[in-house]
């Protein structure tokens, strides 16, 4: 009994986290491709730098043209990626659901956002701030190498898709021109 009490005392001080919300966060993060290679212990470390945010329908997660400072993982709800149009409805690029992530380039630099993200319905998102993320990968090199490798692969994949789309578009335009 005394030993248990002593363990509980040290657990409180050194944050042996048994919080259900924390467990929930870890299980969501484990589904995200960016964190696919991480062990449970490493996911716990990543969860410690996460900010959980609630968004009402129609609220913006980030806006096109603003400097990017955080990457968002959707925990629940739906988020639309749009390009705002003056005087008309926004141009919808993609609609993302739970487990997907967006704004990952903000983890690399603070270049302006290329599109806006708007909550299509009440949503919960997990945000990772660039500076916290950089500190984490400096301190935990193993986590850093795994996450950055995944990020490079994802960006490479998206570049391939974009190239393919560009090539298809050129072919279509060429077809119409001829």
């Amino acid at each position: 009994m005394d030993k248990k009490r002593l363990n509980a005392f040290w657990d409180n001080i050194f944050h042996k986290d048994q919080d259900p919300a924390q467990q929930d966060l870890i299980s969501v993060l484990s589904q995200v491709p960016l964190f696919a290679g991480l062990t449970r212990r490493e996911l716990k470390r990543v969860a410690r730098i996460a900010h959980l945010r609630m968004y009402a329908q129609g609220e913006r997660l980030f806006q096109m043209g603003h400097p990017g400072a955080a990457m968002f993982v959707i925990k629940s709800g739906k988020v639309d990626i749009v390009i705002p149009q003056e005087g008309s409805t926004d141009l919808l690029l993609a609609s993302l659901g739970a487990g997907t992530f967006m704004g990952e380039l903000a983890l690399l630099d603070d270049s302006p956002r290329s599109a806006s993200a708007v909550a299509a319905e009440d949503a919960q998102a997990i945000a990772f701030f660039r500076s916290d993320f950089n500190k984490l990968i400096e301190k935990e090199a193993a986590i850093g190498s795994k996450v950055l490798k995944e990020l490079a692969q994802i960006i490479g994949q998206r570049l391939k898709v974009t190239n393919q789309q560009l090539s298809d578009l050129r072919q279509t335009v060429g077809h119409y021109e001829s």
């Binding site: 944050h15 806006q63 400097p67 955080a70 603070d110 945000a127 701030f129």
Partner: protein, 434 residues
């Protein structure tokens, strides 16, 4: 049910709720700060130490040291340094008798140096320096002697102590001879300035009597006061420990209060402020440590004992955090010690007791030169810089508001304000809020 109307009133209610709770929260916070104002300094010291130790903790974690072990190591180091420094300073503070002796020594040595410089004879005539500036310096000199001379009650105390301890041998004791010489000098001055002196002395006796009454009252509650100070300063290590244990929970809890619209902007502002302030505080700490260490080595070289070189170096290093005034404080402490020092072991034979004053000046000057030419550009190179006028007004304002504590913390507070306001405006523009 009119949904649109309901949503509108809900938004209004929400706004009102947030406004009232923010106002109440701020009021409670201000009340708490005022009620617990005595805890602020220990908490700031603990927080500052934790802030300075954070990069060390990160470095240790990089080398694979477990977090608990790294914190334990830093906590032990913090305790050891604090106990070592406070122990040395406590030992150096003289007791009641020691204070009387120190006053006698300072007065005697000052008069000795003055006599050496001016060479005033019994008829009241001196050398060329005296004939040139004597009339200006003499009243100032008399006033200093008036401050330093022991008042009748303390003279009696000093006399009794030496009589009880040494009996007839007291006349062979160096400090007792100084004491007699001071009284002799005082009498001589009396003869010259009888009228002025009698007024001064009466005032002094009254002041001293009042002071002793106050001292007696203060001594009555001394134990309670010491107990209070100890229990208040117990907060410092706890603040230090829990801030080191914190892994961003405090920041995350604060960021939860920020509306979504400003979320990224606030995080960026916090990061930039933390970065700039961290660089400034760590740079200043390193600069002060280097200044203190240089002074310590310099004073040791010119013959100060290790203990006194350590104490003066530490105090001067600490005071160096106050721009402009800090070096002056270091110089003053060094000069006072250089004045009263009688046992010294210089590493070079050409350093004598008579030239100690000049050597202290040389060492402090060299330290300041090194500080300005090497330490500051290297250590504080890219940290926040303030205009000298802002620094002077800030230090004076801090001193008026909170005394020495205000002087010490004025510049960090101005740095925080400058960085917060600058970054906030920059980020608000970037996020198109203004």
């Amino acid at each position: 049910m009119n949904l649109e109307y309901d949503a509108l009133s809900r938004a209004k209610r929400r706004k009102l709720f947030f406004l009232i709770s923010t106002f109440l929260g701020l009021a409670v916070f201000a009340l708490l700060v005022w009620a617990l104002r005595e805890l602020i300094l220990p908490a700031i010291v603990g927080a500052l130490a934790a802030y300075l130790c954070h990069p060390l903790l990160a470095r240790m974690r990089c080398y694979g040291v477990p977090k608990a072990a790294a914190i334990l190591l830093l906590f032990t180091g913090f305790f050891l340094v604090i106990s070592l420094v406070s122990g040395q300073i406590r030992d150096a503070i003289p007791d009641e008798q020691g204070k009387l002796e120190l006053r006698v020594r300072i007065q005697f040595k000052l008069n000795e140096k003055y006599q050496q410089l001016m060479q005033v004879d019994d008829s009241g005539k001196g050398n060329l320096v005296y004939s040139l500036v004597g009339s200006e310096i003499e009243p100032f000199w008399q006033r200093i002697n008036g401050w330093l001379i022991l008042p009748p009650k303390e003279r009696q105390q000093f006399e009794e102590y030496y009589r009880n301890r040494f009996g007839a041998d007291r006349f062979d004791q160096k400090y007792y001879r100084y004491f007699l010489a001071n009284i002799e000098q005082h009498k001589k001055n009396d003869a010259l300035h009888t009228a002025e002196e009698s007024v001064d002395q009466n005032t002094q006796v009254v002041t001293t009597e009042k002071k002793s009454e106050t001292d007696a009252n203060a001594n009555g509650g001394l134990l309670a006061a010491i107990g209070g100070v100890i229990s208040l300063w117990m907060a410092a290590p706890f603040v230090f420990l829990f801030l080191l244990l914190d892994e961003g929970q405090i920041k995350r809890s604060l960021v939860l209060l920020v509306p979504n619209r400003y979320f990224e902007m606030v995080l960026t502002v916090i990061h930039n402020v933390d970065d700039a302030l961290g660089r400034y505080l760590r740079g200043t700490f390193l600069e002060c440590t280097l200044v203190g260490f240089t002074l310590m080595v310099g004073l040791f070289v010119i013959g100060f004992g290790v203990k006194w070189a350590f104490i003066i170096g530490t105090l001067a290093g600490l005071a160096n955090a106050i721009p402009f005034l800090g070096p002056g404080i270091g110089l003053l402490i060094g000069l006072i010690y250089g004045l009263v020092v009688e046992e010294y072991t210089p590493l070079f034979s050409f350093i004598t007791a008579d030239s100690m004053f000049i050597w202290v000046l040389v060492i402090v000057g060299m330290t300041q030169l090194l500080d300005n030419a090497v330490y500051q550009p290297v250590v504080l190179g890219n940290a926040v810089s303030l205009h000298p006028l802002v620094v002077i007004i800030g230090v004076m304002g801090g001193s008026i508001l909170l005394g020495f504590t205000g002087m010490l913390f004025a510049i960090p507070v101005i740095v925080v304000l400058k960085v917060v306001i600058g970054t906030l405006i920059q980020q608000m523009k970037a996020y198109q809020i203004i």
